[in-house]
Amino acid sequence: MAETLRNNCKALVIGGSAGSLDVLLELFPSLSENMSFPIILVTHRKSGNDALLTDLLTSRTRLKVNEAEEKDRLLPGNVYIAPADYHLLIEENETISLDYSEKVNYSRPSIDVTFQSAAEVYKDGLVCILLSGSNADGVEGLKTVKKLGGLVVVQNPKTAIIPYMPQQAVNEVRSAVVLDAGDMAAFINKLVK
């Protein structure tokens, strides 16, 4: 695994769709309590049960889990969940903007939108992980992340409940780090400075 970040990790964005919840539930209890960067989570889900994912993750980690609000400042040790039905973008001053514009890849929030926006702000300090899912949302975003010097991690399609999304990423993005779900927590903890 030659791929590493040239600089310290400044932000981690995790995107996932169908089949990604299991990975998140397995991942969160093993995450270090001393995260030196914020974690932003973008998953496709139905509107109306926003609190559910927040509650599920809160009960599994000592990190502070927040449903993202517009203008929230991104702080280390915090997890921000993109609310259903809004795109989540990141401003130069490391605050969150929400956007109710057209769906992208039939999705709102779209993983591509957040990956691309985060890449422009954090450049080579960004790590993005794409998990299980049934469409290709996130793949274009990963290309931007790569181009701007960030680190791209993809769930091993063989261990994904729905392999389509990570498989697209493996096919399309050069030198992505491919990890089994079970190895992700250790990988993330190693990014902590």
Partner: protein, 272 residues
């Protein structure tokens, strides 16, 4: 995706041109969002270079109409957030119903879906005849659509579900007639609407209202501009009037928020 990298400075120059040539001020919009809209339009319309795009936006009046329509977000739906409409129906409009006359401002109404939803609730509460809905937007072309009251038929199923969840008890299809691919909403609904352009950034208060709806507009503004707009709404709201915001927007960080009281759990505040 386009390969040419557009930096923040280029975006700022374009927006300065727009202010200078057309009088629309987008400089205090949330940067990430407006940048994404601009780059999207630039890629969509196949300009040779960003400089050419900038020149066209600046000098071509016809193209500027398109620019305005495309960089502002005009995604909306009827009875969006049914819980919000339930609160309007049960907690807000009955109070306003005790007044002899109800003036409502839908600020940033886009193509009108919220204004028509509101008119339906007012009608069911027997309040529409004494109400006036001022529906405004920065963008003249969306107002033309709003006036017509015609919405794509393929969205109607979702709207109808929203309507039922919001506490609507009538047959939703009684409010429109299907016309090819469009649903044309009953003219009794827009007989009580006044459509007008209004720019929240630069225009002033134009009346006093008992209810102002401005949902999913302020998310596109930076904090300073949000606070200016809250001041504008405050100047436009009667004592004990209501201000309704989008589900992810809040009055909380405004310096005068204490002069308002939140209505239950929805994003509705009452001026004290």
């Amino acid at each position: 995706m386009i390969s040419e990298a557009i930096d923040n400075e280029q975006i700022e120059m374009l927006l300065s041109d727009v202010l200078e040539a057309h009088g629309y001020d987008f400089l205090e919009y949330s940067h990430a969002s407006i940048k994404r809209r601009i780059i999207r339009l630039y890629a969509l319309d196949n300009f040779v270079s960003f400089a050419e795009f900038r020149y066209t936006v600046k000098t071509d009046k016809q193209y500027f109409k398109r620019f305005l329509e495309e960089i502002t977000v005009n995604v909306t739906e009827m009875f969006r957030d049914p819980g919000f409409y339930r609160a309007l129906r049960n907690d807000v409009l009955p109070v306003l119903g005790t007044y002899p006359f109800i003036r409502i401002w839908v600020a940033g109404c886009s193509t009108g879906e919220e204004a028509y939803s509101l008119a339906i609730v007012l009608k069911e509460l027997n309040l529409l005849q004494k109400s006036l809905i001022y529906a405004t937007d920065i963008n003249p072309s969306v107002l033309e659509k709003a006036k017509k009251g015609m919405f794509p038929l393929n969205y109607i199923k979702a709207y109808s579900e929203n309507y039922v969840q919001s506490g609507g008890t009538k047959d939703f299809s009684s409010y429109y007639t299907a016309n090819y691919s469009l649903a044309k909403f009953d003219e009794s609904l827009n007989s009580k609407m006044i459509f007008s352009t209004h720019n929240l950034v630069s225009d002033h208060s134009f009346n006093e209202f008992q209810l102002i709806l401005c949902r999913n507009v302020l998310i596109y503004f930076d904090k300073d501009l949000q606070h200016k707009v809250f001041q504008l709404f405050d100047n436009s709201l009667e004592k004990l009037g209501y201000l309704a915001l989008g589900s992810k927007e809040s009055l909380d960080f405004w310096s005068r928020a204490r002069e308002y009281k939140r209505v239950k759990t929805e994003k509705i505040w009452r001026k004290l």
